[in-house]
Structures are given as C-alpha cells and as structure tokens.
Symmetry: C2
C-alpha cells in the first residue's frame, strides 16, 4: 500500500491499496484501488465513493497518485515553478507535448539538471541562485510569459506578474512557500492584472475527478510509449512518513514524495 | 465638447466632440463623435479610427463617456467598490437588473445614500467608517461574495478574498487606492484563490469596443425608460480640469467626473 500526505489531522492522503475484504459489491478481495486513504498499513474505509478501482496495472501503481492536468496552447510560453515536484513535472511535460516553450525553476542543481535533461524543457534555472528573479525571468522570457503554473507563491508570483504578457494566465495550483508562514508575504504587483488583462485562477483536483478516465486515456499511452516521465521520491515505511512530509516544505523531495507502506 | 481624463502626458481622455471639418468621408461637418480626444477646446485628430459617430442624440452626450459592462448571473451576490464612480454606478445597476443581490461601498454618507435610494441596491456602506472591513463584509454577505467588482485595490481586495465563495469571480477594473502610491500595499490572502477556486481577471475597455453597438442596444432603452440612472459630477471649463482630475484620487467626485469644455 502506498500513501501520500493530504492534510495533517487525521492524516489522510492519496493512496493506492489492495482490498482485503469488501461489503461494496463493486469491489472484491484482491482488487487494487486508489483514492483517499489513511496513513495506515491496514484500514477500514467507509464510504467507498472516494475510492477508484484500478483497471490498468501495467504501469507503476503510484503513478495514480496526485496527477493533475494543465491547459496550454501550441507556441505559448510557459513558466512552471516547483517544477520537479509531483504536479510541476507533469505540467511542464504536458506543455512540451502541446508544443509550448517551457522554462521551469526548482531549488537545486540536481533538480535543474532533471528538468533540462530528463524532461527536456527549453530551459531551467535554480531560483535559489538568482538574487534578481525579475532579471532571470526577463532572460528566459524576453517577450513575457503566457502561462504561469503557480506552485510556490510569494516573491516569485510578484515577479511573474511583472513579466506576464497581455492576456496571460496564472493557474494557481499551490503556494508552498506560504503554507507554514504566519505572516504571508504581500503581493504588490497585482495592478499588472489590469494593464495586461491577466486571468488568475485557482483550482483543486477534486473538482476534476469526473474527467479522470479521460485523463487516463491521454496519459497511459504517453507513459507506455516513454513520451512522459514521472519521478518519485520514495520513502520506505510509514515510520519515515513524517520526515518526508516535513521535507516537502523545504524542497527536500525530488519528484513526487511517495511513502511505501507495504510491498504489494 | 466634453473630455474626461485617461492618462497624464499628453492628457487625452474620453471625449464627445462636434466635427468642424473632416477629411474622413464617414464624418462630416456637424457630426457628433465620441472617443479618444485631447483636453482641448479645439483639436486636430488623426487617425480617426478611435472616434465613433453618435447616432442617438436624445440622451445626454456625456453618457457615452466611459461606460463598461459587467457580467453576473441571477441570484448571485455582488459587491461593488467605488460604487458611485463612473463605472461602479453602472455595474451595480446592471447587477440589480440581472436579479442579483447587490451591496456597494463608497466613501461618504452622501454617496451611500445615493447607492441605497437612487440606485436601489440591497445595501450600501461607507468604508471609511468601518474600522473592521472583514466584519462589514461578513455582515452584508453572511454566505460570502460571488462577484466582486474591483475598483479600489489594497486592503479592500485583501478582505474580499477572505469573503469570496467557492468559484467566486473578481473582475478587476481598477485599483484607484494604489495608482499614486510609490509602495503598493501587499495583498496577503491570495491563497484563498486556491481553496475557493476563485477567478481574478483584469480587463480594459478597449478590448470590448467591438461590442459597443450591442451595449448601446441594451443600455439606451434602459436609460430612456428610466430603469437606469447615471450620475455625473460636472466641472465647468478646461481650467477646472486638473483639480477635478486630482479630486478623483481622494474620492471628491460623486458620479462620473466630467469636464464641460464647451456648450454644444
């Protein structure tokens, strides 16, 4: 069974699990499911409507955890932050497959290397080494940014606002730099939203669950044909879960943080 | 000729003017036009593609200056700031006509009275008298805000973010509290955009010029039938223009600030 963090108390997350016994007629012993589970080795789940039966077992089970879709048009210039994380890595690859120019940032040389060479983005940079983020964005996006996939918030968002193009879009997936701060950073460049007619929109995965089968139809062939990669950072055993969870907030993980609770 | 501010140098604005002479075959001597003109009693305008011929002269000419459209659905809860200004006053009235619940704010008792009794909003308040804006919004929107029509920015935006409903929309027309500040106020509650899947979108009137005739078809009957009001703050003479312009930034004007340069 695999499990990944979602919230703190009680600790639940996206998990992949094997059914041991079931009173749900759609699920029988031995079936594999994904959905909201606990940070547990064994558990009782009721109701079962947050569980989805896994029909395709020829790709790693953990690939089912936490995948999201981003929208982009061919030729558009896309910037992805926290780009080696669970969501960011997929967003950039989707954008590349759609014919976009993709530049991404992450917080270490190792991650930047991954972005450039494994995911094949047009460019990537280590934001921790740039003391002038505005200059960095102007270097990689001299004509400005069409789409920013927002994962981190704070200063980066403020600087991206200065570098968006007219009718730019900012898809707000997360703001990991802000979650554990008592005083959130103030964003000062929101007037750019008017001048450049920018759209900023937040989203949560569970609004899109109905599109999941369509998503699988798109993604499974890409993974099977090797056109899409997915990097995981595997922590072995439930005991290592808390440290892995805390590590996410300082960028410790490379790829999606997964906790392997049991071997199948 | 009427003229209203748009930007500072050279001073141009929305104006209504009479053609004295023309080399454009679509415009002849005596025609009335609206569009981008200068802060001038007489002027030479070329090219003329920013001028629109006025076909309906039975409503006050200055009504053609600066009108914008807002979108809303029946039953939605709408909050309008700077609601007695040139744009705000129309937005709230449109929202009422569309069956929305409308609460607006402005900066004086006189303006609030106008909002409540002339425009017939469901409620209105003087934001300068509320030391806890969050409490004020919770009082008028106990279930939250579906649409915020943003004219002022700063603290008000920050507090609105705390009070939006899921899938709320913030139409960003202006942020008048911020234009003349060297250090813009930092907005700290942007994470609400994620949790509530809020859409924030900026717009500029000139992207919608092609819809102007459709807008007139909608608005002219409403004005003629008295279903829509429009309040102007008239400054007489070009000499009084600069003071009127400066007054806008401290909320001196009640209704749209218009400068009457010449009698027709």
């Amino acid at each position: 069974m695999y499990a990944v963090y979602l919230d703190a108390s009680p600790i639940t997350g996206f998990g992949v699990a094997k059914v041991i016994d079931s009173r749900d007629t759609n699920l029988k012993k031995g079936d594999l499911v994904w959905g909201t589970t606990g940070w547990e080795e064994y558990t009782f789940i009721e109701p079962t409507n947050a569980l989805f039966k896994i029909e395709h077992t020829d790709i790693p089970l953990s690939y089912y955890t936490g995948i999201l879709v981003a929208k982009a048009k061919k030729g558009e210039k896309v910037f992805v932050s926290a780009a080696s994380g669970s969501v960011g890595q997929l967003v950039g690859q989707f954008a590349k497959l759609m014919g976009c120019y993709v530049v991404a940032c992450a917080g270490s040389i190792e991650k930047v290397d991954l972005l450039k060479h494994k995911f094949g983005y047009d460019n990537a940079f280590n934001y921790k080494e740039e003391h002038d983020l505005d200059a960095a964005l102007k270097r990689y996006f001299p004509e400005g940014i069409d789409i920013y996939f927002e994962n981190i918030g704070g200063k980066m968002l403020d600087v991206v606002l200065l570098n968006t193009r007219n009718f730019g879009r900012i898809a707000v997936c997360g703001m990991i730099s802000q979650y554990n701060q008592e005083n959130h950073e103030g964003i000062k460049n929101l007037m750019e939203i008017i001048y450049k007619r920018v759209r900023v929109e937040g989203f949560l995965y569970f609004d899109y669950l109905l599109q999941y089968s369509k998503f699988l139809e798109t993604v499974l062939p890409l993974i099977r044909e090797g056109k899409m990669d997915y990097i995981e950072d595997l922590a072995e055993g439930l005991d290592n879960g808390p440290a892995a969870l805390v590590g996410i907030f300082s960028g410790h993980n490379i790829g999606k943080q997964v906790i392997k609770v049991a071997h199948e």
